[in-house]
Structure formats: structure tokens, C-alpha cells
């Protein structure tokens, strides 16, 4: 097909016409989170009943990408954001599907499936009213949860590929100028100005140039890029075509980890349909510009998210970073100028071209423009995917959108930026979140992981967790990262085991300093951050572990014991039933006792006791 503006319009008209036959549209979240909680069964079940009832002509049931509220999945949205049902099919799938049918045919609102607020007094009907959604500003995710990711016509009909059409009428230099003025900075971690990068690549000598989308998201607890690639792959592709035109490249690569099979499949389908519709290939929109995209699947090495390691991997070599003394915009893949951006950065591009740089620059803070997608996880009530304007405070994210801390416990820290980031304490909850503010606090934006921790998280243990991850994921190329990080892990592990010594903190700080200055790539250089930031803000916890051999949060197993308080124990037998080691003895209505020689310190008894009779000492 030879694509033109008229074609886009006629596809849109056809789609609008097609949609007008439906009296109801049901959007079922089929992002990875909801799929794992059973949304595909809801989809199949609902389709089947609609067929039996002969309603398929008037009711459209769609599989969409991630809606964001993963905590309450499977999410089903009816109409144009009229009703949001949560946890559909989780309790009883037949009941819930017949309830959905009641809503579809009789407009009956089913109370029990509505989202309930924290105070348990109010139930919300429309997602627009739910604080989790109301506090968001969805640009990159605007079509996530709305469209069927595998239907290019739907993307086109909702404004897709019009940014590309517009861009191809502009001069490449003008596009770069727009990106520059929009203030867009790289969403993958460093926050490097995108326009500057594009210009350097455009100006680099060489006929052949490449553009790359980095979809090798690997931070623990992060799924922003995944949801984007799964939910709206065309957004990324459109951004890359525009970038290719602006930079002077005819070949793009999407590097996506193979552990994201749905993302890989959706991207493959999206590229195929874009080719079929003439949006990839020769002479796009009759502009004389050719562009195509190839997918590379990553084997799951964390380091391959680092730009030079990723490029090595694309070249078929082992995924090891190299020194960037000569920038990749000059010599990247196969020594050709290569412009790499994160998938979220690419997805911002069509919106900037469509709505103008002024619009994008009007959102955010003076030096960080636009919005940022975060995956909000950990001890927060509403875990999920959010897109918020830069400059929003941590408190707004965690308490307004996130609904606060689970069990209303006390907030302790939020870890941002993945394993290379750091932990930010309560004192900075009011701080507006942007690239520079997070870096100032010893953390970083990273790609947008946000792990919330409460008073029951031990910060030394948290540092140990990230160190373990980094030891395993160090590529092993350079000495400071390969040898140094594992030694940091050994020291922190010793501290958690009650074998900490005076001088350990100083030793950690010194080793961290040498690793961050001496390592080859960004991952090694930032590997000490989890330790440095926890020492910076939670030094006392380290000291208590070392000097008093105590874990104040009650996490480090070598330093704690569980005891049952006789005056509080009612002998309900709940703890003994839940104890996997069968080490809690006591008859009904008798005080229970833990046999410490058998106790594995899992904490189940502590969690299940309704009378606060289990104490961590």
C-alpha cells in the first residue's frame, strides 16, 4: 500500500463507521500483569457468552495493553471510561462474567466489582474519578489500555502516524530543533538531551547511520517499557521513523529482551503491518524517505541495556560495554554513527511533532520536560504503572496515586533508578521528581522503577539485595565492577549475618568510591549507589547491625528471633497452622510457644497473628 494523508483519513472514517455499530465497547486489560491474574479467561468467557446471546454484532470486546492498575487486575473498562471493574474473575469467573453481561445489556452497575477507596466507604464507577488515574497525565500511555495493540487501523484512527506525515513535510534540521526546544531528555536512565544526541548523529560523517530503540528493560520491579511495547508498539515505531528521517538513517533496530515474549510478538506484528500499510519500507508517504526496522532479541543480560554492550550484542558479539571515548553517535554499530534511545523516549516523539514543542515544554520542571512513566511497586497499596508530569512530588506519587503504604505502616524509603539508583528517605517526600533532583539525592531517574519500602524493610538488607543482583549481572569485563562489587556484597552480607566489624562502613565507602571512578561503564560506575545512598540516609541502621548485632526492622534472620507474648496469645492456633516448619506448639486456647531450634524465621506467624502476640526481638 502506498500511504497518503487521504489513506489515513479513509482508514479513520472506516474505523469510525465500524465503531458506530457497537452500542458497547468492553476493554479487557491483557497486559502481562492482568494476563497472569486471568484476564484472558475473562476475555474468552465473555466472548463465548456474547456469541451465545447473539450480541457480538453490537458489543465489541477488546484485548488492550496495560491499564496500569495492576494491583487490582484483571481490569475491565466499559464504554468510554464509563465504568471500571477490578479483579474481574478472581473470586468466581462465571459470576463475574454474568455480572458483566448484566452491565452490558441492562446498564446495571455491579457494586462489588467497582474500585473501592481506601476508607472503604466510597466505590468509584469511572476510572477518571479514581485517584490513581486522576493524578496522572497520560501522553506516552494515552493509548495504552484503549487500543488493540495488534490493530494498526485503530492506532491510525486515533491519530497515529499523523506525526510522521507531518514530520516528513518538515526539514530534518527543523525536527531536531523541535526536539531540542521541547526539552525531551532520554528516558532510559541518563537523561541526556535527545535533540543534542540526534544532532550529533546527524552531523557525524558517514552515509550509513542507525537508530536503535532500547527495550532491554532489566531493572528489578520495572515494567514501563514492557507495557509500552505490549500496549502500543506503533507509538515506538512511529517515533523511530521520525527519528530516522531527522537523523538521516534508513535502518532501525529494536533491541528487546526475549523474556518479554508478548512485547516481541506485538512488535513483530506491528512492524509487519506497518510494512503492509507502507509506513515502513520504501518512499514512505511519497517523501522519498526509506526506512525499515529489524528486531533483535536480547538474551537477558542486564548489561545489554547499556548502549555499547547492546550494540556489541547486535553485532553478534558478547554483550560487553566498551569505552565511550569515541561516542556511539559517531561510531556505534559496525562503527557507523548510531543513535540509541529508550523506547519511552521514542514514544514521546510523535506527540511532540503532533502537538508542537511548546506544548511538551509546557509540562514539567525547568530542566525536565514532559511526563515520565514509573512502575510503582513494593509496599504501596496501588502497585502498577503510572505516567505523571515531571515535578510531581514523591508524596503525591506514593500517597495520592499509590494510595499510601500497605497496612498503613510507616513509609521508610523509596528506591528509584533500579539497581544503579538509590534509596530516598522520608525527609524528601515533598521533593519534586525530575532528573536532576533525584541525582542530587544520590539516586537517579533511571528508567523509572520506583520501589516503596516501609518500616519493615531493613535498609542493609535492601542494599544487599541490589548488590546480589549486580554481582550476578556484572558482565565481568572490568576489574572494579567484577571483583569490587562482589566484595562489597561479602561485606554487607557479613553485616547482615551479625559479623560486621568496626571499619566496615568506611571500607565500603572507600571501595564504592574506587568502583564508581574506576569502572568501565555506567553500570559499574553506579553499582555502589544502593550502598552509598543507604549509608548516607540510614547510617544508624548499619551501625546498629555492626555494633549491637541487631536488625531494627526485624529482617536479617541471623539477628532476630520470634517470640510469642504469653499475655497476648489467645491460643487461636492460627500461627501454628501457618508455620511451615511446624515449630509452634500449643493447644487450643493455650498459650503457644515457638521452638527456636526449629524456627526458620520466615515471619509467617508474625504476619498472621491478629492479636499482636508475635514479637520480633
Amino acid at each position: 500500500m502506498n500511504m497518503s494523508l487521504e489513506q489515513l483519513d479513509s482508514i479513520t472514517a472506516r474505523y469510525t463507521n465500524r465503531m458506530s455499530y457497537y452500542t458497547k465497547i468492553v476493554r479487557i486489560c491483557c497486559g502481562t500483569g492482568c494476563v497472569s491474574s486471568g484476564s484472558l479467561q475473562v476475555y474468552e468467557g465473555l466472548k463465548k457468552i456474547l456469541e451465545e446471546k447473539g450480541l457480538t454484532e453490537t458489543v465489541l470486546v477488546k484485548q488492550t495493553g496495560c491499564h496500569g492498575l495492576c494491583e487490582r487486575g484483571p481490569i475491565v473498562v466499559l464504554g468510554n471510561d464509563e465504568i471500571l471493574y477490578q479483579s474481574v474473575g478472581k473470586r468466581n469467573i462465571e459470576d463475574d462474567i454474568s455480572a458483566l453481561i448484566d452491565t452490558i445489556s441492562d446498564n446495571k452497575i455491579i457494586e462489588r466489582m467497582l474500585y473501592q477507596g481506601e476508607d472503604k466507604t466510597k466505590r468509584y464507577i469511572s476510572p477518571k474519578d479514581i485517584p490513581f488515574y486522576a493524578g496522572q497525565d497520560r501522553i506516552v500511555l494515552s493509548l495504552n489500555g484503549i487500543i488493540d495493540a495488534e490493530d494498526i487501523e485503530e492506532y491510525i484512527s486515533l491519530g497515529g502516524y499523523r506525526g510522521l506525515y507531518k514530520a516528513l513535510l518538515m526539514e530534518p534540521a527543523e525536527i531536531i530543533d523541535w526536539i531540542d526546544k521541547s526539552g525531551l531528555r532520554g528516558r532510559g536512565g541518563g537523561g541526556f538531551p535527545t535533540g543534542t544526541k540526534w544532532r550529533s548523529c546527524r552531523n557525524a560523517p558517514g552515509e550509513v547511520k542507525y537508530v536503535v530503540a532500547n527495550g532491554d528493560e532489566g531493572d528489578p520491579g520495572a515494567f514501563m517499557d514492557r507495557s509500552l511495547m505490549e500496549g502500543n508498539p506503533h507509538g515506538v515505531i512511529e517515533g523511530m521513523i521520525i527519528g530516522g528521517y531527522a537523523i538521516g538513517s534508513n535502518q532501525g533496530f529494536i533491541y528487546v529482551r526475549d523474556e518479554y515474549p508478548l512485547a516481541v510478538n506485538r512488535l513483530i506484528k506491528a512492524i509487519e503491518s506497518a510494512r503492509e500499510y507502507g509506513l515502513l519500507g520504501k518512499n514512505i508517504f511519497d517523501s522519498g524517505f526509506d526506512f525499515d526496522i529489524k528486531i533483535f532479541r536480547g538474551g537477558g543480560a542486564f548489561v545489554c541495556g547499556e548502549s555499547t554492550a547492546l550494540m556489541s550484542s547486535i553485532e553478534g558479539k558478547s554483550g560487553e560495554p566498551r569505552a565511550k571515548y569515541i561516542h556511539t553517535v559517531e561510531k556505534g554499530i559496525w562503527e557507523k554513527p548510531t543513535n540509541l534511545n529508550n523506547v519511552e523516549t521514542w514514544a514521546c516523539v510523535p506527540h511532540i511533532i503532533n502537538k508542537g514543542w511548546e506544548w511538551f515544554a509546557s509540562i514539567g520542571t525547568p530542566h525536565s520536560k514532559g511526563t515520565k512513566v514509573f512502575s510503582l511497586v513494593g509496599k504501596v497499596k496501588n502497585t502498577g504503572l503510572i505516567e505523571v508530569p515531571m515535578g510531581i512530588t514523591l508524596r503525591e506519587i506514593i500517597y495520592d496515586l499509590g494510595g499510601g503504604i500497605q497496612g498503613n505502616r510507616r513509609f521508610k524509603a523509596v528506591q528509584t533508578g533500579g539497581p544503579s539508583g538509590g534509596c530516598i528517605p522520608e525527609a524528601y517526600l515533598e521533593m519534586p521528581v525530575d532528573f536532576d533532583s533525584l541525582t542530587r539525592l544520590g539516586s537517579m531517574m533511571g528508567s523509572g522503577g520506583m520501589i516503596v519500602m516501609d518500616e519493615r524493610n531493613c535498609m542493609v538488607d535492601v542494599a544487599k539485595y541490589f548488590l546480589k543482583f549486580l554481582v550476578e549481572e556484572s558482565c565481568g569485563k572490568c576489574t572494579p565492577c567484577r571483583e569490587g562489587v562482589r566484595r562489597m556484597y561479602e561485606i554487607v552480607d557479613r553485616i547482615c549475618n551479625g559479623e560486621g566489624q568496626r571499619g566496615d562502613i568506611h571500607h565500603l565507602e572507600e571501595l564504592a568510591h574506587a568502583i564508581s571512578l574506576g569502572s568501565l561503564c555506567g553500570l559499574g560506575q553506579s553499582a555502589p549507589n544502593p550502598v552509598l545512598s543507604t549509608i548516607k540516609y540510614f547510617r544508624d541502621e548499619y551501625t546498629i547491625h555492626i555494633e549491637e548485632k541487631r536488625c531494627p526492622a526485624g529482617v536479617c534472620k541471623a539477628l532476630i528471633r520470634f517470640i510469642i507474648l504469653p499475655d497476648k496469645c489467645t491460643g487461636c492456633m492460627r500461627c501454628s497452622a501457618e508455620c511451615p516448619a511446624h515449630c509452634i506448639k500449643g493447644d487450643k486456647k493455650e498459650v503457644h510457644v515457638i521452638d527456636e531450634t526449629l524456627c526458620i524465621k520466615c515471619g509467617n506467624c508474625y504476619d498472621v497473628c491478629r492479636f499482636d502476640a508475635v514479637m520480633i526481638e
Binding site: T479, P480, G484, A514, I515
Partner: protein, 236 residues
Amino acid sequence: MVEFKINGRKVQGEKGETILDVAKREGYDIPTLCYHEKLGSDGRCRLCIVEVQRGNRRRFVTSCLFPIENNIDVYIDSKDVILIRKTILELLLARCPGSEIIQHLAAEYDVTETRYTKDIDKGKCILCGQCIRTCESIVGVSALCMSGKGPAKKVTTPFDEPSDVCIGCGACAVVCPTGHIYIEDRGGYRTIWRKKFELARCPQCNRLHAPIEQLEFISKKTGVNIDELMICQNCK
């Protein structure tokens, strides 16, 4: 011509040269482990790190790779540079406690003991990769590679199996800076990388001199008759 300063003294070099090239010529002593004059470097060991200042920007770069620039200030033994080197040497002492060269280098930086548990499974290998580069670019067979990642990374043959392409030349063992690679000539055979090679006997002096596979490889590459190659260097 590029002009810059090392430790405050003006020096000159050609465009494309590295800091290490110029520093060596000017008589400065920068320690290296993974660098080789003929093979270059990959920046793995990080021992040759120096501090580079340009305006207000301060960065730490491996001198073996960093191309010289006009008006940069290079400090080859600043406080932080010394800390990085000492740290690397202490870490390598723990990894390769049996390596004489590392002990020697560490002693030069007053590092005589390591605070870390000594490894017993790494031998003397510091993963510099010179053996791999030699095998690939000098010998031209690519019998060696790195496998695994992080602390488990090691130099080996693919899948730890005796290599189909290894010719037993031993160039890897010659180039290894720490003497990690084990090579044994005994009873008419050479053993290296788990593979046994029959050694050629010189028809003139009866001396065992090179693996037959290596001579066959040379014959194939150069067109020289294998019978000619069977004669050892001394008798030629």
C-alpha cells in the same frame, strides 16, 4: 600535533595516539596489565587509569585507550588515581593470590595483603583477554573465548570442550601476562586447553619441536610443503 599536559608538564603527541603512548615516550611510568604494545587493549584491567581534566570537568579514563586531545590536563598519580590502582591491585591479589606479577605490582603501591577472602578457583587469570586477541588476530583461529559473566566469567574454549580449531601453538601462553595458561610438553605430546597434540619430530636432528597440527595449519596458510615444515628452525 596535539599538545597537552601530564602532571603539569607540557607534552606533545600525534593525533590518534593514546595518553599511554605519549606518557611512555616521555618516560612516565603507568602500570598496565591487559595492555600489549602489538595487540592494543580493551580497557579491562583498569590499572592504567589516569585523571583527565578539561575545564571544570574531571574524569577518570584508561590511558591505554583515551585518544589525546589539545589542552587537557592529565594526572597520572593523583590521590584518586592511586586509590583506584590500590583497590584494583588488592582485588586482584584476592582473585589471583598465586600471581607473582600482581604481588610485585601491588607491593609497588604498598599493598602487601588483601582484606578479602582469597579465591582458590581462578588461578592466575585476570581476564585481560590478551590470549583471546592473540589467538584471533595473530594466529587467526579463534579457539578461545570468554564464557559466563560477573565473577564466574572465565577464559575457555567454546563449551569447555577441546577446541576443533586450536592448533596447539601456545601463543596464548606466551602472551599471558600472569603465566596462567598451562602448557605441557611430555612424551612426544603437547597438552593445552584440554587438548592433546602430537609433536613433530625433526627428521634431521630428531628433536620434538612443534605440534603437527600447527605445522599443517601453517602449510595450509602459506602453501609451504609440510615436509619442509617438519624440519625444525635449528636445522633449516
